[in-house]
Every structure is written in C-alpha cells, then in structure tokens.
C-alpha cells in the first residue's frame, strides 16, 4: 500500500499546525463563526446534535494494521471507545472535544492519515472498490488512480470553494463495487480495442434529494490526460454550477439542466485549452505510486484447501460463514474475507476499540497486514489463505465479529440518523436494529438470499436508500417519524434509483411491510432468482399490491 514520502508527511503536519492556528484564531475572534465553519468542515469536524463529530478519511478504503490500531487508540483515548465506519470509506468519532481535535489530527498524521476534506464544499475522500488489487475481474488496481487523485485533490487551490461537495469514485472492474454511477465523477478503468488502459468517465451521478445516475461524458480517456480532464470538469462545474440554492448546487443538477451533450462540449472546450503535459502527473510519478500497489508476495498454494474442506464439513456455523463472507481471490489458495459489522441488533458500521485492535492483529497475522473499509460499512481482510480461514474464524467469534450475513437482508446500511446527526429528520439505527432482529434467523436469511436494505434518516441519503434493493427513508411530520419505502435501487453497473411504493409508514408498520414484501418475493421467485432480479421481472406493481394491502 501507499507510504507517505517526506512531502506527504510535511503536508499533513503543516495541515495540523494550520488547523491548530485556525482554532486559536477562531477562539480569539479573528475568524468569525461563519468564517471558521468551512475551515473546520474541510478538516472533517462537524457540529452535531450532542457534540462535535470528527470524520477521518480512509483513502480508497485501504488500511494497514498500524493505522487500524491507531484508529482504535483514538476511539479509546478521545472518544467513548468506539468508531463508526461510514458509507464513504471514512470513520467517524461521535464524541471528540474541540480542544482535542488538533491532537487527534496529529495522532493520525503520525500514521499517514488525515481528516482533510472529509466534509465541506470541496473534493471529498476518493473512494474505490474495496476488493481493489485482489479481485479477479480487474483491469488495473484502481488505488493507483485513487492515490493520484487523493494528492491532486488535496488542498486544491482552485477547487476548495465549490458550489457543493464533490465525490469521486474509481473502479478497476466491470462489476462495480464502488457505486461509481452515483458519484459526481465515476471513473472505470477500461481497456481500449487497441489494448490501451484508460478511463471511462461518468459525470453527474448522486443521491440526496434528487437522485441521478451518472452519464458517460467520455467513453475513453487516456491515462495521461486524467488530471487535465478532471481539471476541465471541475472548472466548468466551479464556474457554472448553481450557487443560488444549496439543494440544486451539485454537478448532477448542472448536467441535468444543460444536458450531458452540452456538458461534454463545455468540458471538451475547456480541456482543449489546457497544456496536458504541463498539468498531468509525469509517468515516473505514476509509476512511483503504482509501485506501492504492486501485489504482495503470495505463496504458491494449491487451489483447493483440504484444511478448509475438513473444517467446513465439521462445523456448520463456520461453513455458513464461509459461504456468505468469503469471496474468490485472484491468487489460488487465497480468499477475500468480509468481516460483517452488522451483528443482529447492532448498530451498522460501529466497531469498538477492542474490535478494531483485534481486526488489526488479525490483518497482521492472516492478511498480509492489510484491511479495507467498504461502502457497505464492513471491513475486508483481502489476503487470507484458505488454509487460515478456520483459525481466523475462531478469533472473529471471540471478538463478536463472526456474523455470517454479508450481502444478506441483515447486512443493512444505515446512516447515524437522528440519534446523532443534526440534519436527520428521523432515527435510522433503531429501524436497522428492528429489521435485523426480525430477520435474525440465519436459515431464513439464507433462504431469502442476496438483498440489500439501505436506510437514510433524511433526504440527504447518506444511508444510500435510493440504491437499496429495499430503501427506507426516514422523515418527520408534525413531530412524528415516518418511513417511505422504495424498491429496485441498485448501486452497481446496472445502477438504478429505487421507486417509491406509497405513503410513509410508522416505524413498526415499516418492519411489517418489509416482511410482507419479502414474502411476495419468496412466493413468486423463480429458482435461483435474487430479490432484485425478481423485482425487475415481476415489476413494481406486484409488490405495490402487497404493500397497499398492508398500509
């Protein structure tokens, strides 16, 4: 994985010093509340319902053991002993004190981490496929691009006061695990007919109150044109994105209002003016970054592990966990393990300091020192030998991290909602917990199969409800929380925005309604057909009838 050089180190240290000074100048009255606000946001510091919240970037989701240990120590020393992994490969601390924040940032800088631009109207943490580098279907490791973009977007002189926040995601695979179609810019590494590797560039996707699927603005962009081309997109957005209404300020609205063809013309015109060679990173620089993502040294192992086979035969719980939480690795004898942060009845994405320490130790022991945070709020150990799975599982069980539900109905994405967030209109965590309890039975979950429920506590859609197979949006009317259900959302290469079923329901009725929808699916599915596939075949109305009968 990437390691900071002296320049990266100096920059994050200077950033800590700058923020320390900004806090002091704010307290001394030099920076007004209004002036300090965007500065603190660009350092990841929010003012929430009960306290400050600090959002720390995990660039493209990749972590070393040492970094995970440090995240655990921060949770213990400066917070209440836990952290919350988010849907954008960040970790949030819910209870830091303002005066401690510069010290926390210094602790992060020490392990090559930061909270730079995890909030604010700037380019946010660059996200990528959590299976980067280990997926079999990959054209190229997207983290090389993501790290290049992390540096390029960091403290950008021109693009730090944009109309609104700006999110970029990168995938190197045809199967999109990074939800690039619901990002402001989505990059997919592709191979041209001539065999050259470059990017398909999508623009204008997003969730929030106006969900939109990104459109292709450039079918093929050669790699050396990446930074100049993105500069052109950003400049067009910075100049012409709406600033009169914060709800219409994202690039998706600009693309929607002028159309993707006009957007393409504007970007290409701007791009044509630029001196590509003067702006692009030189090839040696890209090669330098790529070097850090060279595959680790893997052992030559047989494709089939007899240790694993024996353990699966002997232990049913382990067998089920392997079925749901373990995926194919590009190297024979290795596997990709997803550790679920969704225990039955738990808070999606939360991990205690102790669990983080355990995960860090396990990554060191079993995963070539590497971990990944996923947009589904789980943790991936990307390099586990099949032979080691039984031993790893024992440790996960002991730490309460062995929930066998990855991709199943209780693997729920949820934003923090009204329990923490000042923007929320309803609670989302209790809905996630109640659903998780309702579908707790392991056999029932397995019988239902892949089904993604995603819950947001307000229209800003941090819980990705628009792209949930079943989406739940929490709203409020006259002091009462109620929940709208959508069906058919999809964050992958077949991206779709979910369609609303009907009027909002109470929390309790929501849980019942979802159970009813699942029953419709179970009754009408064809053999081997997933929920989303059945929904597409049967159509919205088939489910709406059941919903209306219940509502």
């Amino acid at each position: 994985m990437y390691r900071y050089d002296e320049f990266d180190h100096r920059l994050v240290q200077e950033r800590v010093a700058q923020f320390r000074d900004q806090v002091a100048r704010h307290l001394a009255g030099s920076l007004s509340e209004e002036e300090f606000r965007p500065l603190r946001l660009m350092n990841g510091l929010y003012l929430q319902l009960h306290a400050y919240m600090l959002r720390v970037a995990i660039p493209y989701g990749t972590l070393s053991s040492r970094q995970m240990h440090r995240l655990a120590e921060i949770a213990k020393r400066f917070d209440r002993g836990y952290g919350h992994f988010t849907t954008r490969q960040n970790i949030q601390y819910n209870w830091p004190r303002l005066k401690d924040v510069p010290d926390i940032l210094a602790e992060l800088a020490d392990v090559e981490m930061h909270a730079i631009q995890t909030s604010g109207n700037c380019i946010r943490n660059i996200t990528a496929d959590p299976f980067a580098g280990v997926a079999a279907d990959e054209v190229e490791d997207p983290r090389i691009t993501a790290e290049l973009l992390r540096q390029w977007s960091t403290l950008h002189p021109e693009f730090s006061f944009l109309p609104r926040k700006f999110k970029i995601a990168v995938t190197g695979s045809a199967h999109d695990r990074a939800a690039i179609k619901v990002h402001d810019i989505g990059l997919r590494l592709v191979r041209s007919p001539a065999g050259e590797i470059g990017y398909e560039v999508c623009v204008g996707g997003g969730q929030g109150r106006t969900p939109m699927i990104a459109q292709v603005i450039r079918e093929f962009l050669s790699k050396d044109a990446l930074l100049p081309y993105l500069e052109a997109i950003m400049r067009v957005y910075n100049l012409f994105g709406r600033r009169d209404n914060k709800y219409k300020a994202r690039i998706k609205i600009l693309v929607h209002e002028i159309g993707v063809a006009a957007m393409r013309d504007a970007v290409e015109t701007e791009f044509a003016r630029l001196d590509v060679a003067a702006i692009a990173a030189d090839q040696d620089e890209v090669a330098r970054i790529a070097g850090y993502f060279a595959p680790p040294v893997y052992e030559q192992l047989p494709k089939d592990s007899s240790t694993l086979r024996t353990a699966r035969a002997q232990d049913g719980a382990f067998h089920r966990w392997v079925e749901t939480n373990v995926g194919a690795h590009k190297v024979p004898g290795y596997t990709i393990v997803t550790v679920s942060l969704k225990p039955i009845g738990g808070v999606p994405g939360d991990a205690t300091a102790n669990q983080m320490h355990v995960l860090a130790d396990l990554a060191d022991r079993f995963s070539l020192d590497e971990l990944r945070a996923t947009i589904e709020q789980n943790i991936v150990l990307p390099n586990v030998k099949a032979d080691d799975l039984p031993a790893l599982y024992v440790e996960l069980v002991a730490a309460g991290l062995s929930t066998a539900n990855v991709g199943l109905i209780t693997d729920i994405i949820s934003c923090p909602g009204l329990d923490y967030c000042s923007l929320a209109t309803a609670r989302s965590i209790p809905i996630a917990q109640a659903l998780s309890q309702r579908f707790a039975d392991a056999e029932r979950q397995r019988a239902i199969g892949p089904l993604a429920i995603k819950i947001s506590g307000c229209i800003n859609a941090c819980g990705h409800h628009h792209v949930g197979h079943i989406g739940i949006l929490g709203l409020e009317k006259a002091g009462e929380e109620y929940y709208q259900i959508t069906l058919g959302g999809d964050p992958t290469e077949t991206a779709a925005v979910g369609e609303r079923l009907g009027p909002g329901l109470s929390a309790e009725a929501t849980i019942d309604a979802i159970e009813r929808l699942v029953e419709v699916y179970l009754a009408r599915r064809q053999s081997g057909e997933s929920f989303i596939a059945a929904y597409r075949r049967l159509g919205h109305d088939a489910f709406k009838e059941a919903f209306d009968a219940a509502a």
Partner: protein
C-alpha cells in the same frame, strides 16, 4: 478599502471611475466592462494612463480576450468567501496569457491567500472590518502555511511533483556516476 499583496498592506494606485467621469490625463483607472467595451477603440495609447477593468463573476472569460493586451489590471469580485468562482476566472485569465495585476475584491479571509496566489492573483482588496480582525500578519502567515502543493502548473510554493522528479533525477545521476567510477 485596504489592499494587500504578498508583502502586506500597500497603497492603491488605481482609481475606480464611474461611467460618467471623464478619463484623467494620466494615472491608473479601473473601468466597468460596459465602458471598456464602448470606449475601447478610443482609449488613449500614449502610456501615461493605465487601464483596468472590474468584471462580474458571471463573466465569460473569452469575451475579455480582445482587451487583455491593453489591460494592466483585472479586478475579480467575490460575493462571499465561499463563492469560489473567482479562483477559476483568475486561472482562466492566466491560461489565456494575461500578465497584468489580478485583484481579488470582496470579503475573503486570510486562510485563502495562498490559494488566491496559486490561481494567479496578485492583490486582495477587502473591507476594513475583515482586515481589522485579520490584519496583515495573518495574511502573510497564511502564505507560508504550506511548503508545497501537489497541483502542477499552479503558482505558489514548491511543487511536490517537480521536487520528486528532481530527486529522482539526482538519484539517477548519482548512481550513474557511481557506475562510471
């Protein structure tokens, strides 16, 4: 209104002319876009009088290109410090070859000074109240908050990618010489 450059507070030699004020014989005057457009062909070219223009953030930079060679200053207004259009306008003007003074006008904050400089601004003109809260020393300190930046072809401190390239070249040179010996 107070005026700053990279050395601190400076006096303003430029005068804003209202559209109905006659041109002086000499000095430095800032005109509106409308007046510049209307009178451009008649502007005296004896060199005693320098011309600047104050644009609006909605401007299309291409409409300014015919005048760029004749202008010694372009003032770019910021409606608020969070309205970042001016950064891109400055960058576009520099890319179009404008070599005169670029002036940012509006309620900007000291912490933006390095970004403004990198995008091509020379001076900042702001209201007295903001300048009172954030005097020169804070603006100058902001210029040296970071010793390097990642983005190529922007002005400012050390470019990190260039520094890395130089370090690579030096390392290659050292190893070549070692090999030669």
């Amino acid at each position: 209104m107070p005026l700053l450059d990279a050395t601190g507070a400076i006096t303003d030699r430029w005068v804003r002319l209202t559209d109905d004020t006659p041109l002086p014989r000499a000095g430095a005057v800032i005109l509106s876009v409308a007046r510049l457009k209307a009178e451009f062909d008649q502007l005296p070219s004896h060199g005693l009088l320098l011309f600047g223009v104050e644009i609006v953030p909605e401007v299309c930079v291409d409409t300014l290109t015919p005048w760029l060679q004749r202008l010694d200053l372009i003032a770019i207004p910021f409606k608020s410090f969070t309205d970042g259009r001016g950064f891109s306008i400055a960058r576009q003007l520099r890319l179009a070859g404008f070599a005169g003074e670029l002036r940012a006008v509006g309620p900007l904050i000291a912490d933006q000074f390095a970004y403004l400089k990198s995008c091509g601004f020379d001076t900042v003109q702001l209201d007295a109240a903001t300048f009172g809260r954030q005097p020169s020393d804070q603006w100058l300190a902001a210029l040296s908050a970071f010793s390097g930046l990642y983005q190529r072809s922007y002005g400012g401190p050390l470019n990190i990618l260039a520094a890395r390239r130089a370090a690579r070249a030096k390392a290659a040179d050292v190893s070549e010489r070692a090999a030669a010996e």
